[in-house]
C-alpha cells in the first residue's frame, strides 16, 4: 500500500500522465467507460487530499514548467537535467521518506 508523501506524489504524476495519454491509448482499440476520465479526476482529487498542500503546490509549479515534475534518478543522475547528484549526502532512508529536489533544475527526485 502506498503510504508516504513521495510515493503519493509519484502516484499523482502517474495518474496525470494517464489522463494526458488516455485519448491516444483509446485510439489503439482499448475500451473506456464513458465516465472514465471523471473517475481518474476523482481519484486525482482524493490523492491530492492526502498530500501536504505545499508539496502539491511545488508539484504543480514544476509540472507547469517542465511537464514532468518528478524524475527518476538513474546512475546517480537527475534524469530531468542530467546533473550528477551528490548522493553520498543522501541516505537510503531519506530517499524513501523525504521529498528531495535536484539542485540543478529543482525537479523532485525519485530513486528507482
Amino acid at each position: 500500500m502506498i503510504k508516504n508523501q513521495i510515493e503519493l506524489l509519484v502516484a499523482l504524476q502517474d495518474l496525470d500522465i494517464m489522463l494526458q495519454e488516455l485519448d491516444e491509448v483509446m485510439k489503439l482499440g482499448f475500451d473506456m467507460q464513458q465516465e472514465g476520465k471523471e473517475k481518474l479526476e476523482g481519484g486525482r482529487n482524493e490523492l491530492i487530499e492526502k498530500i501536504n498542500k505545499p508539496l502539491v503546490g511545488l508539484y504543480e509549479r514544476l509540472r507547469a514548467r517542465y511537464k514532468r515534475a518528478i524524475v527518476p534518478v538513474i546512475d546517480d543522475t537527475c534524469s530531468g537535467c542530467f546533473m550528477k547528484l551528490p548522493t553520498y549526502l543522501i541516505t537510503l532512508a531519506q530517499r524513501d521518506q523525504e521529498v528531495i529536489t535536484c539542485e540543478g533544475c529543482g525537479r523532485i527526485l525519485y530513486w528507482i
Binding site: E7, D14, I17, M18, E21, G36, R68, I112
Partner: protein, 152 residues
C-alpha cells in the same frame, strides 16, 4: 514499427509460460513481481496502484483472450514488457467477455527520449489482431519459441 522491433523489450526474466494466478489482480501482481525481480522497479505498490487505476477506467482486455495492461510510471526508467500465459483463462472483463489467456504487461517511464511506448503498444495490438499469431502464442512453452513467433 515492425513486429520484430518489439522483441528487445521482452526478456526471459519476464516470461511466464503458465501463470499461477487465477484472478486479474493476481495476474497483475505476478507479472509486476517480474519487474521487481529484474531490478526494473523497486516499489511494486506504485506499479500496482497505476495498473489498478488504469483498469478502473476501462478493461485492458481487448478480446480474443488477450489482455494488455499498460501504463507509464515514474517508478521505472525503461520501457519493458512482461508476458504471461494461462491455459485456464482469467476473467478480465474484456470487450468480448471471453476469459484472457495471453497477458502482456507494458510498463513505460514518465518520458522517453525515443518515445516508443505508444508505437510499441500499437504494434503489439496489431500483431495480436492476427489469429495465427494468437494461436502460436497459446502453444508456446519457452522464451525461445516466443521470440521465434515475434520474428517470423
Amino acid at each position: 514499427m515492425e513486429f520484430a522491433e518489439i522483441l528487445p523489450y521482452f526478456s526471459e526474466k519476464r516470461f511466464i509460460a503458465e501463470l499461477q494466478a487465477t484472478t486479474k489482480q493476481g495476474a497483475l501482481e505476478e507479472l509486476a513481481d517480474k519487474f521487481v525481480d529484474s531490478d526494473l522497479i523497486r516499489n511494486r505498490d506504485i506499479l500496482i496502484e497505476m495498473l489498478q487505476r488504469r483498469e478502473s477506467v476501462g478493461s485492458t482486455g481487448i478480446g480474443h483472450g488477450i489482455a494488455i495492461p499498460h501504463g507509464r510510471t515514474t517508478a521505472t526508467a525503461e520501457l519493458t514488457v512482461a508476458f504471461g500465459k494461462t491455459s485456464a483463462g482469467i476473467d478480465w472483463n474484456s470487450i468480448d467477455k471471453e476469459p484472457v489467456k495471453l497477458i502482456f504487461l507494458i510498463v513505460a517511464p514518465p518520458s522517453e527520449e525515443k518515445n516508443k511506448y505508444l508505437p510499441m503498444l500499437g504494434t503489439l495490438v496489431e500483431f495480436l489482431s492476427q489469429e495465427k499469431n494468437r494461436e502460436r502464442l497459446l502453444n508456446t512453452q519457452t522464451f525461445e519459441e516466443f521470440k521465434q513467433i515475434l520474428t517470423d
